[in-house]
């Protein structure tokens, strides 16, 4: 929740300084709190992904786009564009303004990715599942299983590579890499079938004699709620859509969501083992994240220019104090909460350090 708040904050600004601050905060928290678990690597891969997104955005922004600004850096040969597409240009002169606006825009997206990566690194997707209402539980399991495929794929590739090495083949050319894909995919397919069989034989998806009608209605409500919520949140975050759409959708989504939860509550087929308690630390962390987002909204409403760096004239972007204060609260709250009891999979060996 905390990370989502930061992501929401990031989506509303393209001020590079604020974005950098947000990235730094997530890095700090991940460094302090990440556990030694497979999903903890999510953060670094999110960083890489963000960098790729930024560079793609910059390249496209430079090559294709509307001419903007006057400070020319250098010029590329311009491709002739057919008459039916006025205003679009490929190549041509490149200005600082263009470069920066593309860079900042890319950074906005990049920061959102990093925030989500941090959320991933800080808690296991399976822990998240414990807080999911039981109506969407089965859908949730499917998503989590799909998500856990990625780390497994990576370790599979390593294993197949080792096996190749043992058989006297070196992996050098791209054709060898393509040759790896076959066994890896084959293996993961077989494993998914095994997993599905295991889950089925342990009662996953039991329906414990519930009325078919109620089940259909519940499912319909859940889907409607999800679609409405997604549309509503999208409208709210981008601020593009007409004023009434976003709130209406949010209200519709919430209403159907609550309805489906009540209905599915009758379905007592599932129970929870040691559910995660949502107590004061959890609340304070997620509220602090949203506080950061709220501070941005407030600044946006009163002083919009602070969040959109100006290109005309070129100037150093300002750093609004209130926003920084909001982000600082988020950091401190996240650091103050007690750490999640980490698993003891990596016991330290005291004697080894003495011997060394």
């Amino acid at each position: 929740m905390w990370a989502l708040g930061l992501a929401a904050a990031a989506s509303r600004t393209s001020n590079p300084l604020i974005l950098l601050v947000i990235i730094a905060i997530t890095a700090l928290i991940v460094a302090f709190r990440a556990q030694h678990a497979p999903w903890a690597r999510a953060y670094s891969s999110a960083l890489v992904l963000a960098a790729i997104v930024v560079s793609i955005r910059v390249i496209f922004g430079l090559l294709v786009g509307l001419p903007l600004g006057t400070h020319e850096l250098f010029s590329l040969p311009q491709l002739p564009v057919p008459d039916w597409a006025p205003g679009i240009r490929i190549g041509g002169s490149i200005t600082i303004e263009q470069l920066l606006s593309a860079l900042f825009d890319g950074m906005r997206l990049g920061t959102i990715i990093v925030c989500i990566g941090a959320a991933n690194a800080l808690s296991s997707p399976l822990r998240l599942l414990k807080s999911v209402p039981s109506a969407v539980y089965e859908l949730g399991v499917a998503i989590v299983v799909a998500m856990s495929l990625v780390p497994t794929l990576i370790s599979d590739i390593a294993r197949v590579r080792e096996a190749r090495h043992l058989r006297g083949r070196s992996i050098s050319g791209p054709s060898d890499v393509i040759g790896l894909i076959g066994p890896v995919l084959d293996g993961s397919l077989r494993r998914s079938l095994d997993l599905a069989a295991a889950m089925d034989s342990r009662g996953y998806g039991r329906t414990a004699g519930i009325d078919r009608k109620i089940r259909r209605v519940t499912n319909l409500l859940v889907v409607t709620a999800l679609v409405a919520l997604v549309l509503g949140i999208y409208g709210f975050l981008t601020g593009n859509s007409t004023s009434w759409v976003a709130p209406t959708m949010l209200i519709v989504g919430l209403a159907t969501g609550v309805g489906s939860l009540i209905l599915s509550g009758q379905r007592t087929a599932r129970s929870r083992y040691r559910p995660d308690v949502w107590a004061i630390p959890e609340w304070s962390v997620s509220i602090s994240g949203w506080l950061a987002a709220g501070s941005l909204w407030w600044v946006l409403a009163h002083n919009a220019s602070a969040l959109e760096p100006s290109f005309n004239p070129l100037s150093w972007p300002p750093l609004p104090l209130l926003v920084v204060a909001g982000l600082a609260v988020a950091t401190i709250a996240a650091l103050m909460t007690p750490p999640i009891p980490s698993d003891q999979s990596m016991p330290m060996r005291e004697e080894s350090s003495v011997n060394a």
Partner: protein, 543 residues
């Protein structure tokens, strides 16, 4: 109660049924052992019980199967989950959550068990299977045996009436296997649980069984009966049974205890026999050193797995590396082959560092068959796999295929490696590694999932290789294999060598690693049935 009525199973794209006209009743509270050669249909039989066949495998099932009155044709596995607990061959493949405790609770959550009951059952199961120390561990960090125990535990927490296990002890060290089997027996006794399990390592299980189902394979009818009756005629039998056959006893002992009580006369006789077997197990310390491991320390992350290992392996030796699950056996092997680089110390194979050799040179120096033998295979068919190996190692075409027909002649060249049974896949991987004739051969758990016949083929091939001066290292839990094959045994504990010496000395000195014959005939230094036969022969011949 499980009732099979005239059941036949045919998988898609196959003409012959795997199982034909099976009629069978398994009463409540029985421990029922399913035996038979690799690929005979044992797994299919087990998966029929909870409906995984045909709901997951496809194929057609004729006849009917009823489990406590529910037909598996109309009830998919999830609707049988409260009756039947199922543990597959690879326990790690069936893990859904990511920590031990959650995994134990998972099936109960699906079943809708009340939270306080769940809490209590998780604690009970942790105690029952000795998992308390592991409760918060990530499932990925568990060793094979630990994972197996967690998988059994998570099938038990729902208190099923029937527990179905596919080779539950094949990945376990002897002590862990005893523990698991003892707790299964307790469940049968105390709770009236019905247990159906398939197992190749008869010596571990047969003494606990109430009934044995022999699956001969190729659609032949099943043979069902009392363990002693079946064992007397079975082509596969544990060493104590073979001992009874060799000594012409009238009864068939199933456990070491039975055998020891029947063996008084034999033991008396053999004390007078000149046991001169030690001459054949010559120590090879005078031959050339092939692998030189010097002060090697290996760590995974912050955890040190091997501490200062020093070993010299000689030409022509067959070395068994034993030790409990997670002692560092696999790590030692992969360090020798250069897949792990020690942070201190060095490994030299015939003077070269294996980590810096090119793969092409490596396969001629040293070969490793990993625990997941299937990883080595990637071609579309067995035949292509063999030809690829010939090409990679620049061998005369046909070498690998010839090697394969020596180890496992029944494998059809057109099969996809993924469709082979566990044992056949291992045999193929072995052939692939053995074909370039490396001077050192490392095998990680080579007899896992192998039936006795395949195992004896394997022993033959390995002995031949050792006679040619090849060095063979086996990391294994199979004491019978070590007793039969190894000239030298190394025991690892917690990443350190705790014992290293001639096999005879090491394994008779420890009750945990002693093979059945040694236990039955102690204090005589006889390890295998062939030892006993030789001793009896020497008695008959005048000295």
């Amino acid at each position: 109660m499980i009732v099979f009525r005239d059941v036949s199973v045919t998988y898609p794209e196959q003409t012959d049924p795997v199982l034909a006209h099976v009629s069978l009743t398994i009463p409540d509270g029985e421990l029922c052992l399913v035996v038979g050669p690799s690929g005979a249909g044992k797994t299919t039989l087990l998966r029929l019980i909870n409906g995984l066949v045909p709901h997951f495998s496809g194929g057609t099932v004729q006849g009917s199967i009823e489990v406590h009155g529910r037909s598996t044709a109309t009830h998919p596995p999830r609707e049988l989950a409260d009756l039947v607990g199922f543990v597959g061959q690879d326990p790690a493949a069936g893990f859904v959550t990511d920590t031990v405790e959650d995994e134990l609770a998972y099936a109960m959550e699906s079943m809708g068990v009340a939270p306080d009951v769940m809490r209590r059952r998780v604690e009970e199961t942790l105690d029952l299977l000795g998992l308390t120390a592991l409760r918060r561990r990530a499932l990925r960090s568990l060793s094979g045996g630990e994972a197996q125990r967690v998988a059994i535990g998570s099938a038990l927490t729902t208190h099923p009436k029937i527990l179905v296990l596919d080779e539950p002890t094949s990945a376990l060290d002897p002590a862990a296997a005893d523990e698991v089997l003892a707790s299964l027996q307790r469940l049968v006794h105390d709770l009236g649980l019905t247990v159906v399990l398939a197992e190749h390592r008869l010596e571990r299980v047969v003494q606990y069984a109430d009934r044995v189902i022999l699956v001969p394979g190729e659609g032949a009818p099943l043979i069902v009966g009392e363990p002693a009756t079946i064992m007397r005629q079975s082509p596969v039998a544990p060493p104590v049974v073979e001992l009874a056959r060799a000594a012409n006893w009238s009864n068939t002992p199933l456990s070491v205890r039975d055998a020891r009580r029947s063996a008084d006369v034999l033991r008396e006789q053999l004390t007078h026999a000149s046991v001169s077997m030690d001459s054949e197990h010559i120590t090879k310390s005078n031959t050339a050193v092939v692998v030189h491991v010097k002060d090697v320390r290996v760590s995974y992350g912050r955890r040190e797995v091997l501490h200062s290992i020093c070993l010299d392996l000689h030409e022509g030796e067959i070395i068994a590396v034993m030790g409990r699950n997670g002692a560092g056996k696999s790590t030692l092997l992969s360090t020798m082959v250069g897949l792990r680089v020690p942070f201190r110390g060095s490994v030299k194979v015939q003077g070269d560092n294996p980590a810096t050799l090119t793969p092409q040179a490596l396969v001629r120096h040293i070969g490793l068959v990993p625990q997941q033998a299937g990883d080595l295979l990637y071609a579309e068919s067995v035949d292509l796999e063999c030809r690829q190996t010939d090409k990679d190692a620049a061998l005369t075409p046909g070498t690998t295929a010839a090697m394969l027909s020596q180890i496992a002649p029944w494998i059809k060249p057109s099969t996809h490696p993924g469709d082979l049974s566990e044992g056949s896949r291992l045999a193929l991987a072995l052939a692939v590694v053995l074909a370039p004739d490396p001077s050192v051969l490392l095998l990680d758990e080579p007899t896992r999932g192998l039936d006795y016949e395949t195992k004896s083929h394997l022993i033959e091939v390995l002995v031949k290789a050792a006679k040619r001066g090849r060095t063979i290292v086996l990391a294994t839990h199979d004491v019978e294999l070590a007793a039969e094959l190894a000239t030298r045994t190394i025991v690892l504990a917690d990443g350190e060598v705790v014992a290293d010496g001639p096999t005879r000395e090491i394994i008779t000195s420890s009750p945990m690693f002693a093979p059945q014959i040694a236990k039955a005939l102690s204090p005589l230094p006889l390890l295998t049935v062939s030892d006993v036969k030789a001793a009896m022969l020497s008695l008959r011949e005048p000295l």
